[in-house]
Symmetry: C2
Subunit: 205 residues, 2 copies
DNA sequence: ACCTGAACACCGTTCAAGT
DNA sequence: ACCTGAACACCGTTCAAGT
């Protein structure tokens, strides 16, 4: 019976194939013109097959966003392990955030645009998003304990830092800026100077 | 009453009626589920009538965004006239930005989400967006001349300030934050403290 | 000049039917 | 259990036709 089931699968893992196909299409054509039927076609199945793995289109979009948040969390975590100094951790976290966004502009737009219906989103998406923010929170708290950043509500400080890099990321990926910032050098320079300015306002004196 | 409406549309009022209907629908159902056919229905015309006034759906969306940018520019301009001190101008500009965003979350999302195709957007939209940014630029330059903000590239300082408030606005209107910030008091408090922290990093010393 | 309904090629989603 | 095609109610856009 198990063999028969296995054979009858068109794919070994259709769920992941669909996510992969969706990510590719979002990169190609942007997040707002993603169609479930096209995703199915790209994955080589009928247009109703995705409903075996996702309750609706929103669930598939949420899965893409979730991958994005998990990747961000992993990168931020690596950064903390790589840089022992709290100042470097703070600055490099901003660099990582902006780098990831600029390298994946369409995914970034999808993660944060109103396209996702958060009311019906799976709990795992909210968890993944919170995990990413918590990495930043940890960096701020550590910087306060090491007396780099002044005492105060770490929630608010972390939100300030997140807002700044997030705003930059959204303006760049949303193509709101006149000058285009795309090269890794531009990204690093901008994230570093802007991050340093904010950190200056957060310093213990 | 129906006759009167019908007559007014024949007198060239339809364009504005469509924009007004579209804004109402975006507020009701969010920017990503706006349909041209529903806009036409709400305005009381056939679903092809909008094509007499807009080349396509994107043009209508751009018009909504343009109204938003113009309103922001006007508010920022008023703020500068109302507050003579550069510090107040800087802080209040942030308050105004966040206030406007929180009061119109769906429009804000539409203005900055990838939903707008900037390649085919009319030049007037880019002009309106640039005008809004220039208000902020003016505030920064003035603060530098009055020796509040340190010397340096005003483009970069203005971009830092814009990014921070924009990030905050996008996180709030995109419902990314656990705690909801909606009341005018919450908005003012958050914009003030966050703005003051950034300004601290920009001060002349 | 302005607006219309029919038509076309798409959508997301549902469902009875096939394997 | 997994996948299918047909069907339904939408969509943006085009076009010949009406006023």
């Amino acid at each position: 019976v198990a063999d028969k089931q296995k054979l009858s699968y068109h794919h070994g893992d259709l769920r992941n194939s669909l996510i992969q196909a969706a990510v590719a299409l979002v990169r190609e054509k942007g997040p707002h013109s993603l169609s479930l039927r096209e995703v199915a076609k790209k994955a080589g199945v009928s247009h109703t097959a995705p409903y075996r793995h996702f309750p609706d289109k929103n669930a598939l979009i949420c899965s893409i966003a979730e991958v994005g948040f998990r990747l961000l969390t992993a990168r931020l975590n690596l950064t903390q392990n790589h840089y022992p100094e709290p100042r470097d951790q703070f600055i490099e976290a901003g660099v990582v955030y902006l780098e990831l966004a600029v390298k994946n502009p369409e995914i970034t737009q999808l993660m944060f645009s109103g396209q996702i219906d958060r009311a019906t989103a799976p709990e795992s998406l909210h968890t993944a998003a919170r995990d990413a923010f918590n990495q930043l929170h940890k960096i701020v708290v550590n910087a306060q304990q090491r007396n780099l950043i002044r005492p105060g509500d770490p929630d608010e400080f972390a939100l300030s830092a997140w807002s700044m890099m997030h705003g930059l990321a959204m303006l760049i990926t949303g193509e709101q800026l006149d000058k285009s910032i795309r090269s890794p050098e531009d990204v690093r320079r901008l994230a570093t100077t802007v991050g340093a300015t904010l950190l200056d306002g957060l310093l213990a004196r």
